[in-house]
Symmetry: D2
Subunit: 347 residues, 4 copies
């Protein structure tokens, strides 16, 4: 019954709780605290996050990235508004219609991804193609940073998007499932790629970066956060023992552990990229800028990899193979994957 | 900044993670596992739950009781249907309209609680008072076991409700926030007060009984569970690292720890009831049948209790004071509360 | 197959299209016009309504009172907000949960009606009884003018409500299913009992007052009307041949026909009230201030009335009998009802 | 203020009420009737429709095509299900997200239209491309008959779709905004292209075919219609004076007027097609099989047409010009359009 599996690179969702975070859970378990987020840990974690982002922002803790994205989007637009994103956006491909559900009907307007990104031109096209009452009025731009294809918007690219957003009166929501990896990649500060470039709200993931579970929604545009706590409660996203989520954040924030974890993951991706760069038949599909590597390879190589008990996803709808590296990725295990890829490629 | 508070009896939501559960979290953190519930722990926990309930039922893990109740209700009725419950039901008083939200409009039809319970007469009244198209058609009975007022439906009472449900073509959903306490109180088997008496779906709480977070939805009527996993995913209730929730359940289920934890909580409530039985001015408001004690006392006694840093709720809308005991309630701390109550009563 | 029924007083929904309105439908059918409300009739009707209300307001035409109420409420509050109204409010008793549906979860907080009305004390009680996050935050007061029990809020009563609304930061929505009857009863101007006393949005019925179908939503608080046309479209309430609805409004507005129709209906109610005032066993239940008369009578009298093919409703949940008079009520038919009531009472 | 416009071919939504229908409205206005569809007219119209479709089906009257489509789709799928349709489907392009709203989150999966149609291959592709829990499960195929591009599915094509629907366990909903035109075009019986080829529910438009307003939803799969009347009521689509809608249907159904109206419209389209067939620069974009003609022409010709006060739409997103002919299209006016097109083409 016990299916012990080896370390895999299917997703950073497979990663464990990192020790510093686990330690925090154990520690706080000795303290009594108030429930529903009125506890010291939650207030302290919120303050540390405000420190991290260098601005006075509204902080909310929820359980999943799907909930974080959908609730923040629902706060930004009504059911008869629409959301601009790429055709590989997680909110479109992997949330089972959660944005549509939580907003009670907002439509997603899709642009073809360009290296995983939304371009200003595409945004303008979608924002202006319909202005009549029979089509939901565009209201929000949703960008994923780092993108679903592992690339990272530069500060300049974000400024271009900010410009367009301002001109067409659109909000900017940022899906930060791998936000930490983007910050680590750009070697910048969190503020540099969020509110300083016009982002209204960020969904910042902890689950992928060393926590058991937990995402934080950061509203830079505080007006949009009005009554958002009620929204979370009604959505079943208000944890009674909130301290167990916020304490995990404290663990990640201390000593910039979140950045270290993300940096390690990025480094492993880079290392993997280098190691396979000379394997014939294997092509890197997209620039490796964060912690994911997408490869194109002949079908039978991928098949045989699976037979060797490697677990990985094709790109949703795009074929090939995706390998995601995490805070706890061991170089040893990466080498094993590289070894198998080399063998299969040569056979 | 650090608000250390003493052990409180405001709610079993204040309780800690019990050691066996915490141990499981630490243990499994050493294993790799698949994500989104496809892991061994989740499958094993589901099997153990099926064992516990002695029947083949569908099992789903979600984060909060609010989500559990609302999602299960939404699976049982459409937006133009209605739900029968008491006026002190948690789904009415404390979920910020979550049932209405998740069902996209189902109305709650309220009956005055009788010692916290729904009676067959009240159900019949609500089920038949309107049969025209202008009023949402009753579809579900929602009962809380143990009730919000700390009482427990007997097996006979449940059979009466089952009879009415059958006659009026209504489903039965059970809010089991304190289900463990009810089973412990009745000294019965979980099956005896669920599917054997016609309950279609149960929301069984772990959070209140020694877990960090986690509720399980148990569908005895398997038809109603069709595509329920999609519903949970769309609702942002599908944990990517599901194993951390299911592992906690494994901790609770092993050696019937769930029952022991609940029994201890009930015992502490009984102990407290006895200890204050002779204090003048303090009246026990409802029969103490699980882990809550509701007292009626002069306002200034309650006020002074608060000044002595005791934290407790009035009944939502009913005044007085509620004390809830948990798996980790220390007799010593109960004695301190009793001592203060005696002092304040005599002064 | 053809069930010809005699003139009835079950509801003003049974009334016909008044001739002036029917004439307008026939007239405009000879003109070509743009669709979806971009036609001359719709713009002209909107202007006439702004004239009638003596203010610059936003006008929207929808098909039913249920839709009008629900859409306007949804524009005023989010899913986690709540709406204060009486327990006999149409939005609670007869819209099959439409307010909950269109708002995706707003709860209705009910106060016991006092002669059909909401009192400032009750509003304050409901607005303040819960301030925590677990209960939907009150956001709107919904008052029905004329009330469901046939009474009419005086200007002074409305000012009291306005005062409370301001103090507790609540919007005021007015269900004007029988608004015309209220204006006729008070012999005032529409402005006097709407925006001048703080009403943010009014749902003004045409269907009950001589039209085939059609309601108008009047936003005095124009900010709240932002993108409301999109909301109506998404809700399936945007008529493609809108001119047929707006033209009916032109018919009603010309020469103050709406007021004449309502006055006649009120007069018939008053006449009926007088005529039955001396019948033993028949009690008038509520002050007759608009076009409805609620009587209390022994069950068998009401039963026998029905056997004489009189169709009427009991009060929803309140028993007795309700008689509603319309623009086309004939005195002759009222006399027939009075005659039967006298006979049955004496027998 | 009075913008009298000439007969236009922008849409059959611009058409008037045909005389037989108007006559019915006037006639029934002399009768009293019960409200909310309990009247004789509504029952009779429902029976006539069952006669027309030669089967025992459930009939519901609503106000708009948008509501008809969305409500029927919501009855067929839950929020976490998805709907397969073309990228030019009205439910996607022109209902402002109504399907998403009424279903509380169902996603539309789009296939590229092939002459306006959905092909079996495309359906299979969309039905199978994702089978995991993170994507809404396909549940319904929505086909428009006649299509938005004026083409008509043959019986054989519908049988192919039926086959696929059965194999992949999908329902079939038919948007019949121009259903009458399809039946007229195929010279078949309504049953031949609905339930006999597996259609579960049809939305049949009256508004475009000579009525003031009114659509009927026809459930051939009666199970799916359970409690659908409650759904309509909650959605604000239950007319209190329902007889005015059903009476219009009686007018259309008598003497097959619906078919004659549609045939005339189709004939005018064919006539127009012939008349412009030899104009240089004007291309017919799609086969003319019902009452719409889509032309491709140089931009300045289209511009100048508009300057000559011709009103018409480009295809939503596709450019060009669309001309739609109705029951009351006059040959004389078509000739005027042809004349202008010829002039502008030659200049």
């Amino acid at each position: 019954m016990y299916e012990k599996i080896n370390e895999q690179f299917a997703s950073d969702n497979y990663s464990q709780i990192c020790p510093e975070v686990l330690k925090k859970i154990i520690e706080l378990n000795n303290d009594n605290a108030l429930a529903y987020g009125n506890d010291y840990y939650t207030k302290y974690a919120a303050d540390k996050l405000r420190e991290l982002f260098e601005t006075d922002c509204e902080i909310f803790f929820v359980f999943t990235g799907t909930a974080a994205n959908s609730l923040s989007l629902a706060a930004l637009c009504s059911s008869y508004h629409s959301i601009i994103c790429t055709d590989v956006a997680h909110i479109e491909t992997d949330e089972c219609g959660a944005p549509e559900f939580f907003s009670n009907g907002s439509k997603l307007l899709l642009a073809e991804e360009k290296n995983g990104k939304l371009t200003p031109e595409d945004i303008i096209h979608l924002a202006t193609k319909r202005t009549d009452i029979h089509y939901p009025k565009p209201k929000v731009i949703s960008i994923t940073q780092s993108t679903e294809l592992g690339t990272v918007y530069t500060i300049e690219e974000l400024k271009q998007i900010q410009k367009v957003a301002k001109e067409y009166n659109l909000y900017i929501q940022m899906d930060g499932a791998r936000f930490a990896n983007a910050v680590a990649s750009l070697k910048c500060k969190p503020a540099d790629i969020t509110w300083k470039v016009g982002v209204d709200v960020l969904c910042f993931s902890g689950t992928k970066n060393g926590m058991a579970m937990g995402e934080v929604i950061v509203f830079f545009n505080k007006e949009l956060a009005q009554d958002f706590d009620y929204r979370c409660k009604q959505a079943g996203q208000l944890a009674s023992k909130m301290k167990f989520i916020s304490a995990q954040w404290l663990g990640l924030l201390e000593n910039d552990l979140w950045r270290k974890n993300a940096t390690h993951a990025n480094n492993m991706a880079k290392y993997f990229e280098e190691q396979i760069s000379d394997i014939k038949n294997i092509k890197i599909k997209f620039p490796v800028e964060s912690n994911s590597v997408f490869i194109e390879a002949p079908a039978q190589i991928l098949e045989q990899l699976k037979q060797r008990d490697w677990i990985f996803y094709g790109f949703i709808g795009l074929g090939g193979g995706r390998f995601v590296f995490a805070w706890n990725t061991s170089k040893k295990r990466v080498d094993e994957l590289v070894k198998d890829l080399k063998e299969l490629s040569n056979s």
